[in-house]
Symmetry: C2
Subunit: 194 residues, 2 copies
Amino acid sequence: MTKSEINFENYGKIFKVDKVHFDEFTNLLKEKTIQKSEYFLEFGKTCNHLGFVVNGTLRSFYISEEGVEKSFNFHTNNHFFTNYESFLQNTPSKMFIQAVENTEVLLLHKIDLKKLFKKEFYWQEFGRIMAEIMFLESQKRIEDLLYFSPEKRYLELLEKNPNIFQKIPQKHIASYLGITPQSLSRIKKRISKS
Amino acid sequence: MTKSEINFENYGKIFKVDKVHFDEFTNLLKEKTIQKSEYFLEFGKTCNHLGFVVNGTLRSFYISEEGVEKSFNFHTNNHFFTNYESFLQNTPSKMFIQAVENTEVLLLHKIDLKKLFKKEFYWQEFGRIMAEIMFLESQKRIEDLLYFSPEKRYLELLEKNPNIFQKIPQKHIASYLGITPQSLSRIKKRISKS
DNA sequence: CGTACCATTGATCAGGTTCAATGCTCGTGG
DNA sequence: CCACGAGCATTGAACCTGATCAATGGTACG
């Protein structure tokens, strides 16, 4: 994938940017490949980029007080990602974002995004709608965590995002689900029997 | 509290609206008192208002397939509330929002908010920042649910929002924490012994 | 005064955690 | 090219916490 292939036909809908503003947007994007195990963002550093996964997989995680990695999210093809807390508030990141495999990304620098916001009504609205979408998505995850068992969450993940099971070690999926690797192993066993 | 007391000195910071735009904002607000047990929003209806609690308490909840109420959130003094999903997407609400006690609220109609958004850059930015703040808050709740036990969540709630324990029946607090009333009762007992 | 609802408590159960041991796989160096 | 080691998944056993079902007690409201 080269940047010339990032055209309106294929990416307009995904970026949620209209034809008039599409080039203005993509001109600000920088291509990069993050090698497997490399970091997009490390603990303590401020996150200056909004990222978009063209092809590959990344993972955001914390390290708990006990030194255990706690996966917060996975980032797959055609999704934006960043540490929004650090990015929006200019604060040092409490999480890491790491490539699970070699991953092609597009990067938009915070300064460029802010310039867009300042520049035109359209971009301000774009920013609002993006934030609203992300907000509604996190509301869904809250409902999930509040009202469904780990087993149900596993089955749902399996259904909605089966591809990540090929790419991501099980222990990371376990902490994403809020359980231990052992429990995930037993849940799988339990399900396979029924 | 009458609307004349909603002045910039006291509410500018809370609304996150600057002096220049403050009156424009408050002119759109309608005062209302929601009596205890009355609904601000019912299942199946579309949510047309953004609300703000001047004084009182409301509760958002679902009714699960088994017919059990699942509290999603509590809304207390000086906080905005609505069912954002229904409000933003114009869809029938899956949740109820009910007054826990007699509650004074200010209401902003969706149409008026959209007019503000259309009208001026300032309001578009206001909307974006609001959405970003809400998003970051829900991220925090996800972390909470993922990585902390019900007991820890209870202790945290007790510390950060002790007042709601006076106002809200324990069974609603239990489902907000993601547990049954019996378990909450036992957690309290366990804690009091230590 | 009675009823209805809620909190508490008891008993039992189910699912997730922890600690420990074993087995598997993949990548590396001899 | 094979052997080894590291890291991960699996499994076992004991434990803990929260769920469920059922009974009791307390309280507020009609």
